[in-house]
Structure formats: C-alpha cells, structure tokens
C-alpha cells in the first residue's frame, strides 16, 4: 500500500509499504478515506521529536471504513464508517477507567523508554515516534487500529468526511483546551496560536460562554478566520506588543484564562526569541517556550493557563512568576474518548461545522509537498486533508 513515511528532517516520502495485518484479536484494519496533516506533525517534519525511525508511517488524524476485525472486536463490524482518535487507549486500566485516556498504562509497547525520559509513560499515539509506541500512522491506505473497541467512533449519519474528520484530534483538542481553562461567564480568554487547535479553542471558549475571546497569531488569514468564524478579537504579534495590547484590552487585569495552542515551535520576536534560538542551538534547551513565557506574564493573577500545545523536553519556563501569580496550569494530550460522542452530537446537530479550517484537499501523493507548504505557512495553508 502507499503511505507517507518519515526519513529525517524535512524528508517525507510517498512509499510502498506492507499492508497492515491483524496482530491481536482486539485489532481492526481501517481503509482510510480521509486523513489530515496536523501542526504537531511539523515537530516530526522538523526532526524535533526523538524516537523516529526511517520509514515510519506518519499521521494521526485518520478516518475510514473498517475492512477487517479481530476475533474479539465487538463494537465494530466490517463496513462501519469510523473516525480514529490519535490516542491509543486500552479501555481497561485505571487511567482509562478514570476517563484519563491519554494516560493509558497499557498502550505503549515502549513504555520503558518513555518512563526513562518522563518518569511514567503516557498512552501510545498513532504515527508519533517510538517513544510513544512506534505505531504506524494513518497517512496511508490502511491503518491497524489496536484496542478497536475503545478508540474509533462510528459515524452512522451521512455527514461528510470533511465535517467529522477533525474528531480525530484537533476539534476535541481545542475543546479540551477550553475546558481545561475553566472558563466562567464573565471571563476574557486569550488564545495564542490560530492554527486548527487554536481555532477550535476559540470557538469552544465561545460555546462555554466566555465574555471576550482574544486570538493571537502573526498570519493574517488565520487571524481573520478566528474573527469571522470564532467571533474573536485579534492581535497580530508582529504589529503589536502582545502584553501591552492585552493589558489595554482588559483594563490592566490581564486575560482570566490563557491558552497556549502553539507549543514548542513558537516563533518569538525580539530578544526572547533570539535567546531561545541561541539556547536551542547550544542544546541548552529542547523547546522554544516563547508563548508559554508570554502567557505566564500576561495572565491575570490567580488565572488559568491551559496548554494543549505540544512540548517535547525541558522548557525554560519562569516558575517564579507562575508561583507568585498563583496561576493554575492544566495540560496533557487530549482524553479523546471523553469528547467523541458529545462533539459528534454538536456536528450532527449543525452547531458547528469543523470543515471551515480546511484550506487544502489533495491526494496522498501530494503529501510531501503539502508538508513543506504547511511548514512554511505558504499558500494560506491552515489545514491539509488528503485522500489516499
């Protein structure tokens, strides 16, 4: 079958790889009908995530049709149309039972490796390094889905792929980001990053009744999208100082709730940005926590900082201000299974149509080129959907 495979920094190829097979009786094989490139795939594209091997199949935002099931799969049948969430969860461990699916104890075959780095291993993820499982991803014609009774959600209505595909990651991730921000009715919410997760965080914050939502980015079309679709006020950080701007918009209080939907690859400006690049070059830090630092500085005292953005290693974060301002920080990979049913409901009832973020629809063979376009933020690229 054809798949997009990783071969090193900025080297994604269309390859012919063996078609996946049922390995465990709890597996299913899904024929992919639509699959997206995610902002966090760019951390792999830029070779910033340890644990990749040449030939690894990329992709963690897939959907398709079940073509084969293992003997013990009960919830799915051949022919079912499913969206596959990016986290892999066993459904049986203490964490899964507590609805903390992205912290599943059993789905990472390389848990020992992750434990050495993080102390404990989170769940395995599709197409996201051997540190997080080494599972083949979904930018391919077929995908093996372990614990098939636990992850995939069946789509029984006739909503098109484009509307439900983002249940695989960015819609629930933006939603959980807003939920983690503990938004209350009179709150001002600031969202750094207007990529897909940021867009869904903006809209989710609105759904949760925020009084004011402020979106921060440097790409004009992303800001425009947050304004028109998400009813957000916007700050272009290349044209204004974010701290000054936020203070003037909130009477000097700072936003009550701050969401870092950027993560490790923030493009800082000024001295801080340069200093991040120097430290990174000298291997003194692994991440560019520019947004994290800015959010800590801007957030209202006693406010909440929600971090859906992906960080990889040790980020140099000002812990003093965080502590002295008594901020609450909430983070984590998305506990996908919590959100699939309720968010599918919102889509089916027409409350939201997530397809607004799609900027490019191409075939799998255009994947390598699209990675580059997306990485370079060219051609107004916000979200790429591919059909194998």
């Amino acid at each position: 079958m054809r798949a997009l495979t990783w071969h090193g920094e900025k080297d994604v190829r269309v390859s012919e790889v063996p078609r996946p097979e049922i390995v465990e009786p709890t597996d299913a094989i899904v024929e992919i009908t639509a699959t997206a490139i995610c902002g966090s795939d760019l951390h792999l594209y830029n070779d910033r995530m340890p644990g990749m091997r040449e030939g690894d199949v990329l992709g963690h935002e897939p959907m398709g049709e079940v073509v084969e099931t293992g003997d013990e799969v009960e919830n799915l049948e051949v022919g079912d149309r499913v969206v596959v969430p990016f986290t892999i969860s066993c459904g049986s461990c203490w964490f899964c039972e507590e609805d903390l699916y992205s912290l599943c104890d059993n789905s990472n075959p390389n848990a020992e490796m992750a434990r050495k780095m993080m102390g404990q291993s989170p769940a395995g993820l599709f197409g996201y390094s051997h540190l997080l499982g080494g599972y083949a991803g979904g930018q391919a014609e077929y995908l093996r889905v372990p614990y098939a009774d636990v992850g995939p959600i069946k789509i029984e209505s006739d909503v098109p792929d484009e509307q439900v595909l983002f249940l695989s990651d960015v819609f629930p991730t933006g939603y959980m980001a807003a939920e983690n921000a503990d938004i209350e009715p009179e709150d001002t919410v600031a969202v750094w990053g207007c990529g897909p997760v940021g867009q869904f965080a903006v809209q989710s914050a609105q759904m949760m009744g925020a009084n004011q939502v402020i979106a921060i980015d440097r790409v004009p079309e992303r800001l425009e999208m947050a304004g028109t679709h998400g009813d957000a006020e916007t700050i272009n950080y290349e044209h204004a100082d974010v701290y000054d701007q936020l203070m003037s918009m909130t009477g000097g209080r700072g936003p009550d709730r701050c969401i870092d939907a950027v993560g490790t690859e923030a493009h800082g400006t000024g001295l801080d940005g340069v200093s991040d690049r120097v430290k990174e070059g000298a291997k003194l830090q692994d991440d560019r926590p520019y947004v994290l630092r800015e959010a800590i500085k801007c957030c209202r005292k006693g406010g909440t900082l929600s971090v859906p953005g992906v960080y990889l290693g040790r980020a140099n974060v000002p812990f003093g201000p965080l502590m002295n301002k008594a901020l609450t920080v909430k983070t984590g990979q998305t506990h996908m299974q919590r959100y699939l049913d309720p968010l599918l409901g919102k889509i089916e009832e027409g409350e939201i149509d997530p397809s607004f973020i799609i900027s490019h629809q191409v075939g799998l063979e255009d994947g390598p080129e699209m990675y580059q376009t997306f990485n370079d933020k060219e051609d107004d690229c916000i979200k790429v959907v591919m059909t194998p």
């Binding site: 079958m1 798949a3 495979t5 071969h7 090193g8 790889v17 063996p18 078609r19 996946p20 097979e21 390995v23 465990e24 009786p25 709890t26 910033r48 340890p50 644990g51 990749m52 091997r53 040449e54 030939g55 690894d56 199949v57 013990e72 066993c90 459904g91 049986s92 461990c93 203490w94 039972e97 104890d105 059993n106 789905s107 990472n108 075959p109 390389n110 848990a111 020992e112 490796m113 434990r115 050495k116 780095m117 993080m118 102390g119 395995g124 051997h130 540190l131 499982g133 080494g134 599972y135 083949a136 391919a140 093996r144 372990p146 614990y147 291997k283 692994d286 990889l312 290693g313 040790r314």
Partner: protein
C-alpha cells in the same frame, strides 16, 4: 551527571548496538548524541529499545546508559549478586495475578521480549535467550516458593553448559491502596555467564537489567488487564538505518 559523561554514555550504548561499526556509524553516533541531548534534559537518558530478529528471540535491550553503568559497577564491586527490583501496580486481585504468572504460556508472553519459556515438569521451566553474538543461553528454573497471592519464586536449578542469565526470578504481591489493585514487585538476581567477573560478558549481551525487568512488568500488567501485550510487530516501518531512535 555531567554533559560529558552523558555523551560518552550515549556513545557507549550506541557502540554496543553497532559492533564492527562501519561508515554509517559516525552519523549514527552523532544522532545518538543529538537525540540524547535533546531528549534527556534533566531526566536520565536513554531508551532501551527492543530489537527482535525474525523468528528468534534476541536479548538486545539497550538503553539506560546510566543503569548500564551502575550494573557494570556493581558487578565488578559486589560480585554480581545484587538483585534488580522494580514494582508496578496492576488493577487485578493478587490471587489472579499469581495464577497468571505461574502459567508457563503466560510467563512466555511476559518475558517474550528477551526469552522463551516452556514447562518441562510440574513446577519446572526451561528458559532460553539469545544474545547478539548468537550465544544461546539456556537454563532451568524451579518454583521454590509458592504462596498464592503473596509470593512466587523461581530459582535456577541446573545451570547447563550454555549458562543462565539469572539465578532467581521472584514476584511478590501486596494490595494497593483504594481501588487500584495489587502492587507487584519483580526481583531478578542476575548471574551472567562469567560469574563474578562477568561485567564484560553482560556488556556483550547488551543487557540492561532495569529495562528488562521494567518491560517484563509492563507486559505482565498489559496481559493481566487487557488480555494482550501491546505490540507493533508486522508494522510497515522500522526499515533502514538509524533505526534505533
């Protein structure tokens, strides 16, 4: 741990994975270094990554440069008898877990990342493992303590010519607080070929005992809680060079 000793530890692990290093080794080594520096940060390094040759079992757990070092240290200092011990919490009652661990088929799945196990008698099991130098290790163990739901211990009984990897494998079970199940502790006493002067032998085997024990416990837990051991075998990947990390 200083940056320097970290780098050399990473290099050591890298070298042990690529005996007879070829032209490709240089870039691989620098990749290890880079990855190590990037990944590790304040945390201890190292990724023990299982490699399995087609068909056979390969005892090739690599990683844990620091633990690896610790092992070499204590092997030369303390004579190779210090046990390696790790614990995990499994969401099942202790009785069920000790029954599961006693069954040779289950035991085989739990230790499948480095050894094959089969029953040769009522409470007697044959273990075998292969190292990268194609050295076949094979030995028999017998249950010497069997207190259901509390303790299970196997000891090596006949250490035949090809040698045993360890001389004791023991599990103990304690109830965990609240609804969390059972705290399972696995203790393994290594007895690598070469005995007390065996640190060189262990190096050649690429055994990182902590990783071996940690992974065995992970697999035990997954088997008990889900009925399967997670795997990425038969996956369309992991081809080509630079495939350690």
């Amino acid at each position: 741990m200083s940056e320097h000793s970290f780098d050399s530890a990473v290099e050591e692990v890298s070298n042990s994975m690529h005996p007879g290093a070829s032209a490709g080794a240089e870039s691989n080594r620098s990749r290890w270094k880079r990855v190590g520096t990037v990944a590790l940060g304040g945390a201890l390094v190292a990724f023990g990554l299982r490699r399995r040759s087609l068909g056979g079992t390969v005892l090739a757990l690599v990683g844990g440069a620091l633990s690896y070092r610790t092992l070499s240290d204590y092997l030369s200092d303390a004579g190779g008898t210090e046990p390696v011990e790790r614990s995990i919490t499994i969401d099942k009652p202790a009785d069920e877990l000790s029954d599961l661990a006693r069954d040779p088929e289950n035991l085989e799945r739990i230790v499948g990342h480095f050894a094959d196990v089969s029953a040769v008698g009522d409470e007697r099991y044959r273990w075998s493992a292969a190292g990268p130098l194609a050295r076949e290790l094979s030995w028999e163990m017998e249950i010497t303590t069997d207190e259901s739901g509390e303790r299970l211990r196997w000891e090596t009984v006949d250490d035949d010519a090809s040698g045993a990897l360890f001389d004791a494998w023991s599990l103990s079970f304690d109830s965990a607080p609240g609804d969390r199940g059972t705290e399972v502790t696995l203790e393994v006493r290594l007895d690598p070929p070469g005995g007390t002067a065996g640190s060189a032998a262990v190096e050649r085997l690429d055994v990182v005992p902590e990783s071996l024990v940690g992974t065995a416990l992970d697999r035990f837990k997954s088997l008990a809680e889900t009925g399967t051991v997670p795997t990425t075998e038969n996956r369309p990947s992991a081809r080509g060079r630079g495939d350690l990390l």
